[in-house]
């Protein structure tokens, strides 16, 4: 659990070049450990998806990675920087080492091909020596793992429900047994029952297969339940990162507190749902200092002037979490 599998160091992603560039992700540092579910939460436009696409180099033009390293530690062998890979190496790396399930992934299936064709196609490309029989067996097994009857292998996408298609996409992401699975709001289009079921299965699969997950969502309540660690993004930066329970019970950054007070708890005393006033910042004209300060209920002198550094706070559990807020003086910066 303590072994890192993916280290993101000072990742910067821009849209556009030169003076016109919009800095969508700024100096993000994150470490994903083996077997961990790392949740990434934030409002729309906070840079979550850009971050995920940037670190896998999947960002469409005019997206540009302007700096940073994404260090991947394979199960065996030397660690390497994903951003420095050649095109060939990157193609080999993708799917086999890191798979991604996209936003609205259930519409990613090709409507004119059977599920079996689409599942085995991956194996044909990445493991050409595999026989047709064993390819089929693997596809069958993957479908069973995500809770779909194996006879659905011969179905066309339109014959499956939305939840089943989403499961097929997850099966497809896992078929090469990658070490890291990035999920970009994979269940947003589904109802809550289906969402819970799929996420439960995903966690179970993770325990069995031992991959790590970066889970991106704007639904913090899902993360509290399913992830080990949660990172909160705002205005392209990580503002707080903490173990899920620590963040839920004792969030340090006012923005995290605002997000947490935006959804009701199932048990416990009734409380007022506060939400966060205002709207996310315009990435083209970021506020000075802490980008959250115009909306922050606890804003004070230093906030408008200087950008707070992400670092370990001076609290009893300070060694396990980081925060970037002037309210919480930090002992040591991370980065």
């Amino acid at each position: 659990m303590n072994e890192p599998v993916l280290e993101i160091r000072n990742l910067n992603v821009d849209y556009g070049l030169g003076d016109q560039a919009v800095h969508a992700v700024r100096d993000v540092n994150l470490t994903l450990h083996r077997g961990e579910v790392l949740g990434l939460a934030g409002e729309s436009g906070s840079g979550k998806s850009t971050f995920a696409y940037g670190l896998t180099r999947l960002l469409a033009p005019p997206g540009v990675v302007t700096g940073g390293q994404v260090v991947y530690h394979p199960e065996r062998g030397e660690a390497y920087d994903v951003l420095a890979l050649s095109d060939r190496a990157l193609r080999r790396f993708r799917w086999a080492e890191t798979a991604i399930v996209f936003q609205g992934a259930m519409n990613s299936l090709n409507p004119v091909h059977k599920i079996s064709t689409q599942l085995t196609d991956v194996l044909r490309a990445h493991e050409p020596k595999m026989s047709a029989h064993s390819r089929n067996a693997r596809a069958r097994e993957m479908l069973r793992l995500v809770g779909i009857a194996a006879d659905r292998l011969e179905a066309y996408p339109h014959q499956l429900s939305g939840g089943m298609r989403q499961r097929v996409m997850i099966a497809m992401a896992l078929i090469l047994q990658p070490q890291v699975v990035i999920m970009d709001e994979p269940t947003t289009a589904l109802d809550v029952v289906m969402q819970r079921q799929i996420l439960g299965e995903l966690i179970e699969l993770r325990e069995r297969l031992g991959f790590s997950v970066i889970f991106i969502t704007h639904d913090l309540s899902v993360l509290v339940e399913f992830s080990n660690k949660i990172a909160i993004m705002y205005g392209g930066r990580i503002v707080e990162e903490a173990p899920a329970s620590a963040l839920y019970h004792d969030s340090l950054h006012p923005y995290s507190a605002g997000l947490l007070s935006s959804f009701p708890a199932l048990r416990g005393p009734r409380r007022e749902l506060a939400g966060i006033p205002g709207s996310p910042p315009d990435l083209k004209g970021m506020p000075s200092g802490c980008s959250f300060h115009p909306r922050c209920p606890k804003v004070f002198d230093p906030c408008a002037g200087n950008i707070p550094v992400l670092g370990r706070p001076d609290t009893p559990d300070g060694s396990t979490r980081t925060v970037a807020c002037w309210l919480h003086p930090i002992k040591e910066p991370v980065g």
């Binding site: 540009v64 990157l90 004209g285």
Partner: protein
């Protein structure tokens, strides 16, 4: 409701949702109106087409000679007196090309306009209204589809004595619309069940309004390309007619120049100046129209625009290749960025070979 245009605007990076709001509003409005001109292809095409139209208007006046006037300089190569040389009768080819421009442009553009209007009316009506209208109009366009335009023109112009260029334009226009109508009908069929059309209908918009303001902007690219295609077709048909000796003898069509060049065996005589100017005039006109077509395509669908521009240069002089699936990486060190450096500098070792042991936390 102008959903289509606004959605196009929003998908343009940096122009739509992300553009700063407020004080810069009038500036943005002006930029939007002139944006088609900022496209280099469209601009070049429009300039070339403008030159053609200019010569179509002033051609007969600026022509140095009467194109029919004969002189003693027979099959003369380009010279100071005759820039494009002379024919076997000593006629000035430059004057013939200049005088011929008007007929070609008039026939081409008017046939294109006639055909485009017909195809839009028939295609959108058939596609949107469906049912009896669709059946009737589809049958009509299928009938027109099998009428061979060129042969019809040959028959008509042999019965009508000295067919005018207006009549030729009318015949070409009336026979070349069905392809465009078919494409537009198919596109309209796929558009009419989209949510924004349903919403327009549900909110009580009139049928003509739905067709004109909701569907029409979505098919601009198709209309533009079918217009350009028809103009090219009309120009080549007219030139073909003149080349095979049908059509008015009095107006000096480029096809007629080619006809005489062919019948007098200009190539065999080595008189390249006889057919090259007319041929190049046709080629440049076609190129200009195609460039305008590309420009409109890119204007309507911004994704095409960025697809063409794959290489960009950054401020620091790096050349970056933009490709889908392989996001360019400008700086591959782990040092924090200048534009975003938090106040206390953080010490980092950005060495590339990374070992698992030195990982943090």
């Amino acid at each position: 409701m102008t959903i289509p245009t606004s959605s196009v605007e929003q998908s343009i990076p940096g122009q739509g949702a992300m553009a700063p709001t407020g004080s810069s509003a009038p500036v943005r409005a002006r930029r939007r109106r002139l944006r088609i001109l900022s496209n280099k292809k469209a601009m070049l095409g429009l300039i070339v087409l403008g030159i053609y139209i200019l010569f179509a208007i002033i051609g007969p006046w600026v022509a140095p000679y009467d194109p029919d006037a004969q002189s003693d300089d027979l099959v003369g190569p380009p010279s100071a007196a005759h820039w494009f040389g002379t024919t076997h009768l000593g006629q000035d080819i430059l004057s013939q090309v200049l005088v011929g421009t008007r007929g070609v442009i008039v026939v081409g553009l008017s046939a294109g306009i006639i055909a485009t209007v017909l195809s839009v009316v028939v295609g959108l009506t058939a596609g949107y209204l469906g049912g009896w209208w669709d059946d009737g109009l589809s049958a009509l366009s299928n009938v027109f589809l099998v009428i061979p335009a060129l042969i019809l023109i040959i028959i008509v112009s042999s019965t009508v004595n000295n067919a005018s260029s207006g009549l030729i334009a009318l015949i070409i226009g009336c026979t070349s619309w069905p392809w465009g109508a078919r494409v537009l009908r198919a596109q309209t069929l796929s558009l009419r069940r989209r949510d924004f059309i349903e919403a327009a209908r549900a909110s009580g918009e009139k049928t003509w309004r739905v067709i004109l303001f909701e569907i029409l902007p979505n098919v601009t690219a198709i209309i533009a390309s079918s217009f350009v295609g028809t103009v090219i077709f009309a120009v080549t048909s007219e030139i073909t007619l003149a080349f095979i000796g049908i059509g008015g003898v009095s107006n000096w069509n480029w096809g007629e120049i080619l006809f005489w060049a062919q019948s007098q065996q200009a190539l065999f005589q080595g008189a390249w100046w006889w057919f090259v100017p007319a041929g190049l005039a046709i080629a440049f006109l076609g190129t200009a129209l195609s460039l305008i077509n590309f420009g409109i395509d890119e204007f309507v669908s911004p994704r095409l625009r960025s697809a063409g521009k794959t290489k960009l240069t950054t401020a620091r002089g790096h050349t970056v290749r933009m490709r889908v699936g392989f996001t360019p990486v400008l700086d591959n060190s782990a040092a924090p960025h200048t534009h975003a450096t938090p106040t206390p500098a953080v010490n980092l070792d950005g060495a590339t070979p990374v070992h698992r042991k030195e990982a943090t936390s």
